[in-house]
């Protein structure tokens, strides 16, 4: 079972590499180098924060685009081009195919994010080395080459896994355009989901408050994954918080993936 899942996953990764998806890393590196040069003119200490902020935000955005645009086509493209006919008649279950697709894209995102994180650390290290005074100025908030950035990168990655699972789920039954719109919609909603938990404070209707409460648990809650500001400003991000948030993200992704498997298992390929 694990062997066939990994084979499917390996081919998703291979396709991403050959489709030149990893070229975005060149764009990212260019962005980081240009930004570090431009913000070099700013007040000492602020440029480090900007580089960290920009690095984390760009990693999240680039990752989001990859997760959505590849994720929504992962299954749909195979069904539309009928290449799925050749695979599903082989000795693998339909849910193995879905899990393999998910792991393949998760691997692509991991490589992407790892390279982007390395690029951010490299830029920060070069800045700290060329201008030793920066370290003293920035120590007020956080070290220049701050290991806590990894926590932010980890949470971005788990958030991207949630987004990938959503994109893959929509991809099992709808077109890429609609899937992309729905996934982006849920991503945006997910960042404002916390407002739904306190909906009873702003509406009188108990039914509306209950509906909002149900939606709060049903929709992804993505705001906790955003710890950029805290990390950049040197505020503590406890390991327990990171673990709990990662646990929630992985459980949510697993549930969505389960739904995707259910839909895909019952589907007729006309």
């Amino acid at each position: 079972m694990a062997r066939v899942i990994l084979l499917v996953a390996y081919h998703v990764f291979k396709e991403s590499v050959r489709d030149k998806v990893l070229y975005n890393l060149v764009l990212f590196a260019t962005l980081m180098i240009s930004a570090s040069y431009l913000v070099g003119q700013l007040t000492a200490g602020q440029d480090i924060k900007i580089i960290k902020d920009l690095g984390l935000a760009a990693s999240a955005v680039f990752g989001l685009f990859i997760a959505v645009f590849i994720g929504v086509g992962l299954v749909w493209k195979e069904v539309d081009r009928r290449s799925v006919y050749n695979v599903l008649v082989k000795p693998l279950r339909r849910h193995h195919f879905i899990v393999g697709k998910f792991i393949g894209l998760a691997l692509t995102l991991l490589v992407n994010l790892a390279v982007m994180a390395t690029a951010v650390y490299l830029v920060l290290a070069v800045m700290a080395w060329t201008e030793p005074g920066l370290a003293n100025a920035a120590i007020v908030d956080a070290p220049v080459v701050d290991p806590n950035l990894l926590k932010a990168f980890l949470l971005i990655y788990v958030q991207l896994l949630v987004v990938t699972a959503l994109a893959l789920f929509f991809s099992t039954f709808s077109s890429p355009m609609l899937s992309a719109a729905l996934t982006f919609g849920l991503y945006v909603v997910g960042h404002f989901n916390a407002d739904l938990a306190h909906f009873e404070n702003v509406v009188k209707s108990r039914a509306a408050a209950r509906l909002a409460g149900a939606l709060y648990y049903l929709l992804p809650n993505l705001a906790p994954f955003d710890v950029k500001a805290a990390v950049v400003h040197g505020q503590a991000v406890p390991a327990g918080y990171v673990l709990l948030t990662c646990g929630y993200g992985l459980l949510y992704a697993a549930a969505v993936l389960g739904l995707a498997m259910l839909v895909f298992a019952r589907r007729d390929f006309k």
């Binding site: 062997r3 066939v4 081009r81 050749n86 695979v87 008649v89 082989k90 000795p91 007729d268």
Partner: protein, 322 residues
């Protein structure tokens, strides 16, 4: 034990968005294919051939009916290990080469190196695309993709091969190669189930055929039984007698066509007694050149069956609502 068996296989689709109507794509198809047989699944476009193959491969699920392959339910992982499938107009991954695709699929069957490398190389060479093994498949022609499709269907050395329109997109040399391949599969004990609307291929390759029309199985049986002893008429060639005199021989003569050198071809009805006609020709001074029975071709059987099925179901395949 039959290699493939279906019983009352039925598939309905809902057609329409706001008020979906059930459309019967396949209607109670029952068939039995024995092991080591080349079975031709014939029918006009839209008859339900691809639907049947997709049901056998569990790419779609039946509304009713039962499927058994190698004595097990279709979709059983053990069955999948032992069968191969070529879909109609196959499409593969643009980013892979033919060699990588076959290596991938061999991996899904758990075939390991060096056996995997040997099978991939052998199949690509056997299907005439060994020279293009490292070319991305986005550069392949339709015929080359068809050959890759056949190669991937055989990668697990299957006991049964399901081929959906295997000659589609192939040039005459490709068709000859595929015919030879199907016969070689049969010779090594493989059961071949192939769908086609090209009847000459079926006549060349099949031991048994089934004819599907309007979603229903309208005829099935040994090709030899379907075509044998069904004389559609007689072709009599005579000399030394003119066409007008031949026309006087009675109602058994359906037509007379003059030929070169004073010969005539006479088209006789199937129920006539040719000996009497020959005697009558002799009496009028003519002589016999040749006499041949006109056998039914598969095409004649096919057209007759399809027309009969269309006449029997003029209302189409939408099911009554409610």
């Amino acid at each position: 034990m039959a290699a493939i068996e279906t019983d009352g296989l039925t598939k309905d689709y809902a057609v329409g968005f706001w008020r979906p109507r059930p459309y019967r794509a396949l209607d109670g198809v029952t068939l039995r294919v024995e092991a080591n047989e080349v079975f031709g699944f014939l029918g006009p476009n839209g008859a339900g051939k691809t639907t049947t193959l997709k049901l056998l491969m569990q790419l779609i699920y039946p509304t009713a009916g039962r499927i058994s392959i190698l004595g097990r339910p279709a979709g059983d992982p053990e069955v999948r290990r032992r069968v191969g499938f070529l879909p109609e107009a196959p499409y593969f991954y643009d980013y892979l080469t033919a060699e990588e695709l076959l290596t991938y699929f061999a991996g899904l069957f758990g075939i390991r190196n060096p056996e995997r490398r040997r099978r991939v190389g052998d199949l690509l060479d056997r299907l005439g695309i060994g020279g293009e093994r490292r070319l991305p498949m986005r550069k392949f022609s339709k015929g080359m993709l068809q050959r890759v499709g056949l190669a991937q269907a055989l990668i697990n050395d299957p006991e049964i091969v399901f081929l959906d329109e295997p000659m589609s997109g192939l040039d005459p040399i490709g068709r000859r190669d595929v015919c030879a391949l199907i016969l070689s599969l049969r010779d090594r004990g493989c059961t071949v189930f192939f769908s086609s609307h090209i009847l000459s291929d079926a006549e060349t390759l099949c031991s048994r055929v089934g004819i599907l029309a309007g979603g229903k199985m309208v005829a099935t049986g040994l090709l030899s039984e379907m075509l044998a002893f069904k004389v559609a008429g007689w072709e009599l060639v005579v000399a030394g007698i003119d066409a007008a005199a031949l026309g006087m021989l009675g109602a058994v003569v359906r037509g007379v066509a003059p030929m070169a050198d004073g010969r005539c071809t006479v088209d006789l009805a199937p129920d006539c007694e040719p000996e009497r006609v020959i005697a009558a020709v002799h009496d009028r001074g003519g002589r016999l050149v040749s006499l041949n029975p006109m056998r039914l071709t598969l095409e004649d059987v096919f057209v007759a069956q399809v027309k009969a099925s269309q006449a029997a179901a003029p209302a189409g395949r939408f099911m009554p609502e409610g």
